[in-house]
């Protein structure tokens, strides 16, 4: 049933409804578990053409003599998806999701803005306003705002994994941060009442630092309650940190912790994780190699996230995206350069999976953007808009504030509901 029908059946399109305030954007229905969204951002422009591989196109193999992933059935070949596209073999842990129709892809999706600067493109995808640089907030923060007042004020309604608050969650609505790595669950000074009180004395104002400290106290309490302390090892953590603030190797651990948090805490509704290291300008590899080595922990982590979150999986959509794709043709260093169109991934029980969506423009030279990149036929905001409208249940007016001036939500099925 669509949102309009559901609202009608809940009796909330009728004015003068007997229940208390209708100030919430979402109708208050405590019997209905809240719909959750996890966004995983692959920073550095992952090579989508080597992830959801158009093995049915001869141009793919002509353009990538050294880094094309082999056809299904061949050594290190793709895992067939639908007779035309195949999945990179390092993502094998995700195939059960495809088989049970809980994973879908939107091919040739991306931004209408054509910048090939990582930093600008990530900025646009996180602010949700491609081409516009002065948007202060990220779209996930606006989404949080549109979800209405917290019931009971949970500090963990939106959670971001990692030491810094990225653009996508920046804004007035409050977002909790969880450390990357085992440190997430270790006790801190704020768990010591004497110290918490002493520090708290200095952070009682309404300034950003005071708010952060105050939020930290609330979040620490919630996190320590939700996560059992994981001894972990310093070494693993430091290696992950040394490979970059958010390397793929740290992802499975972070995904497991997020899954635990979501399983134990029904108030966690939005989550964000970023994984870096996808900028394969040289020696990208094919079924094996650099890209494969990064895809492996990514796939493991995504599978662990769904498996680990328990019943919450019924209500959670995981959206994987990257700022742009990479050149169709390999470059002189057996790698790829910055491109345009990419593929978006959707995982989770609410997804109408087992299908590759999107209008596939093909890889013939005349179909390429500037003769070098996969074209974009679906705006990334259409995909997000569809998920927000039909999965999260956002009304149209709110959708406009979250994604201003965006094109219409994706019209393909994409979601079961």
């Amino acid at each position: 049933m669509n949102r309009r029908q559901w609202l009608q059946s809940a009796g909330l399109l009728v004015a003068g409804c007997a229940s208390s305030s209708i100030a919430f954007a979402l109708p208050a229905d405590s019997s209905r578990p809240q719909r959750r969204l996890v966004v995983v951002f692959l920073r550095g422009a992952v090579d989508g053409l080597n992830v959801v591989v158009p093995y049915g196109e001869s141009e793919y193999y002509q353009a990538r003599p050294n880094i094309a992933v082999a056809r299904p059935g061949q050594p290190d070949g793709v895992l067939d998806l639908d007779g035309h596209f195949g999945l990179h073999p390092a993502l094998a842990p995700l195939m059960p999701l495809w088989a049970s129709q809980r994973m879908a892809f939107v091919q040739a999706s991306g931004s209408p803005d054509t910048t090939r600067s990582h930093f600008d493109a990530q900025d646009y995808m996180e602010s949700g306003t491609p081409g516009v640089k002065n948007t202060a907030s990220g779209w996930m923060n606006r989404l949080l705002g549109a979800l209405g007042r917290d019931h009971g004020g949970s500090p963990l309604r939106a959670v971001s994994v990692g030491p810094t608050l990225p653009r996508i969650v920046a804004g007035p609505a409050r977002v909790a941060t969880i450390a990357s790595g085992a440190a997430a669950a270790r006790p801190t000074v704020l768990d010591n009442p004497r110290l918490a009180q002493a520090f708290g004395q200095m952070y009682q104002g309404d300034d950003p630092l005071s708010r952060s400290v105050h939020d930290a106290e609330g979040e620490r309490h919630a996190i320590m309650t939700d996560l059992s302390a994981d001894p972990g090892t310093d070494e693993r953590e430091m290696r992950a940190a040394n490979n970059g603030a958010a390397g793929a190797n740290g992802f499975p651990g972070d995904a497991e912790r997020l899954a635990t948090l979501m399983r134990r805490d029904p108030s966690v509704q939005l989550a964000f994780m970023a994984v870096g290291g996808w900028d394969t300008h040289a020696n990208e590899g094919h079924g094996q190699g650099q890209l494969a080595q990064r895809l492996k922990p990514l796939g493991q982590g995504l599978a662990a996230l769904i498996d680990g979150m328990g019943p919450a999986a019924d209500e959670t959509v995981i959206l994987v995206m990257s700022e742009f794709g990479r050149t169709v043709r390999e470059n002189g260093n057996r790698g790829t350069d910055h491109g345009h169109g990419n593929v978006m991934w959707l995982l989770g029980n609410p997804v109408a999976g087992g299908k590759v969506y999107g209008a596939w423009p093909g890889l013939s030279t005349q179909a390429l953007y500037e003769g070098r990149d996969l074209a974009v036929t679906t705006d990334f905001r259409s995909v997000i808009g569809c998920v927000l409208e039909r999965h999260v249940g956002l009304p149209d007016a709110s959708l406009d504030t979250v994604l201003p001036a965006a094109p219409a939500p994706f019209s393909g099925k994409l979601l079961r509901a």
Binding site: Q201, M202, N283, G335
Partner: protein
């Protein structure tokens, strides 16, 4: 701005003016200033601030917090005496400031960190061969060697950041390393960063921008990090078919970031075509094959890789001239008005405000252009500006994790003996040393670094350091540094490893006017053993 005569007293008198700092001297200075005994120098444009405040404790604290990583014990007192103008001038000329014999000795012993890239590459490749020949033993040997190098290069950076009297130079090393970032986690770069810092960043940190740019473009660390070492004209074949597993063809990565991040800026007015053409210009800028280095930095111009065609870049027609094409391109970029603006903006953001005033940036850019990129001259404009000295811009920059940790070590007078705990802390706070994966380097704005988890981590560090449980000032218990062994050693030699808590009076004396009335009030009513941690965890100390 804290009134100087109104230095917070109340209950805080006993706390503030403990042993060490003569209270009356300060009052005398204040009286002198008020009596106009010091001649103010008034700027013509009004953009330069009067020096009548030259000895004002609040301004002194501000200047030391920005030009240095905050004060060490005794610093504020010294600068109050000499005045900020003299201090700024001194710091702008680090070559005139001698290092202490202890620091000089410490740096001289870092043998690996002092080796040239050419030598290190040879050694590293030998170790790689041993791995193949000797399996696990070879792996262990290589890991130990790399670990030694990592420890030494981190010590070189942190010992100077904390202990060097050439503080502005250290601050500029932080600034420029981020601007010309290389990531130590990428292969060969792990063993190249120390030399990169020592031969590219340090020597030119206050010099001519073009020299800094050129040094960076020639260093193996940068050539490797942004893949230019692999870049070659179409049809290039590595000699003897040997290669290194990678095929070598045109690579745009460095050319793009050279324009987008190092010089013009993302809106600097270049196109995708310009990126490709610049990449063609820079083909051949590569790393010397083993034992064939023509320069200690590891640079080698390979004319066989070079694209000898004509290029069309930024509306220039570029005739083929080999390495000289690249040198000329760097000249063009260094002289470009967009570069002057971009660099000035970044400097103003680092030193004045997250949202730097455009008028200041414009004046700095003009100076940059006038002086052909003289960084010292541009900084002079910055430090004498009204915007820099504006009270509204004092104590308002949220410290990065690096700035926080270094300033905390300085404020507590902790020497850098064991870098491991410092590196661990920086990792946890999300700013691993030499660990920024992306070429844009670490940001220095509040938006980038402030969040609830970040505050929690800083309070952890404040508490550990204040109670003496962050053993940066003591030698590591064992090579492995395991807690159990440290505990054992501590039992055996308690005097050496005893936790040494920091006395709050000393800390407050050191920090002077950096710590304001509101925090002092909170201290006064707090449990005495917690006070040092509270100072290091105060909102005042979170800012610079």
């Amino acid at each position: 701005m804290e009134g100087n005569a109104g230095a917070p007293k109340a209950d805080g008198v006993a706390l503030r003016h403990g042993p060490g700092r003569p209270h009356p001297v300060r009052r005398v200075l204040v009286a002198l200033v008020c009596a106009g005994a010091l001649v103010p120098v008034v700027g013509f444009s009004g953009a330069v601030a009067a020096s009548a405040d030259d000895h004002d404790p609040a301004l002194v604290a501000h200047v030391v917090n920005r030009l240095a990583f905050g004060p060490r014990p005794g610093d504020l007192e010294r600068v109050e005496k000499e005045g900020v103008d003299a201090y700024i001038d001194e710091q702008l000329h680090p070559e005139r400031i001698p290092l202490s014999p202890e620091l000089t000795d410490q740096l001289a012993q870092l043998r690996l960190a002092n080796s040239t890239p050419a030598d290190l590459i040879v050694q590293f490749r030998e170790l790689q061969k041993n791995v193949k020949a000797e399996g696990q033993a070879g792996k262990d040997e290589r890991r130990e060697w790399v670990q030694d190098y990592v420890t030494q290069s981190a010590t070189a950076r942190l010992a100077q950041a904390v202990d060097s009297p050439r503080q502005l130079e250290e601050v500029m090393v932080d600034f420029w390393f981020n601007h010309f970032n290389v990531f130590a986690g990428k292969g060969l770069d792990r063993v190249l960063v120390a030399d990169y810092e020592r031969t590219v960043i340090r020597p030119y940190a206050l010099g001519r921008f073009r020299d800094l740019l050129g040094a960076s473009a020639h260093h193996a660390a940068m050539l490797f990090y942004l893949d230019n070492w692999l870049s070659a004209a179409p049809g290039y074949q590595p000699p003897g078919g040997r290669g290194n597993g990678a095929v070598n063809g045109l690579n745009e990565n460095y050319a793009r970031e050279l324009m987008e991040l190092h010089t013009l800026g993302v809106d600097g007015g270049y196109t995708q075509k310009d990126v490709t053409e610049l990449a063609r210009i820079l083909t051949g800028w590569t790393i010397a094959p083993p034992r064939r280095a023509t320069s200690p930095s590891g640079f080698y111009f390979d004319d066989k890789r070079h694209d000898w065609g004509t290029k069309n870049w930024l509306n220039y027609t570029v005739a083929p001239r080999g390495e000289a094409e690249g040198e000329w391109a760097l000249d063009v970029l260094a002289r470009h008005p967009a570069t002057a603006h971009h660099i000035s903006y970044e400097l103003a953001q680092y030193f004045v405000s997250d949202h730097p005033p455009e008028a200041l940036v414009a004046r700095m850019a003009q100076r940059f252009t006038e002086t052909d990129g003289d960084i010292r001259a541009v900084l002079k404009v910055l430090f004498s500006s009204r915007e820099f000295r504006d009270p509204a811009n004092q104590g308002t920059k949220f410290k990065t994790p690096y700035q926080y940790v270094v300033s905390a070590l300085r404020a507590t007078g902790t020497p850098v003996v064991n870098v491991r705990p410092i590196l661990g802390v920086l990792n946890q706070m999300g700013e691993p040393l030499y660990g920024c994966v992306t070429p844009d380097g670490y940001a220095n704005t509040q938006d980038a670094w402030l969040n609830p988890d970040a505050m929690t981590r800083r309070l952890n560090v404040a508490t550990a350091l204040a109670s003496g449980r962050l053993p940066a000032g003591r030698p590591p218990a064992t090579e492995a540094g395991g807690d159990a062994m440290a505990a054992g050693a501590a039992r055996a030699r308690p005097a050496l490893f005893a936790a040494r808590p920091i006395p709050v009076d000393d800390l407050l004396d050191t920090l002077g006017d950096s710590i304001g009335a509101s925090t002092l009030k909170a201290l006064a009513s707090a449990d005495p053993p917690l006070r040092s941690a509270m100072v290091l965890g105060s909102p005042d100390f979170m800012h610079r």
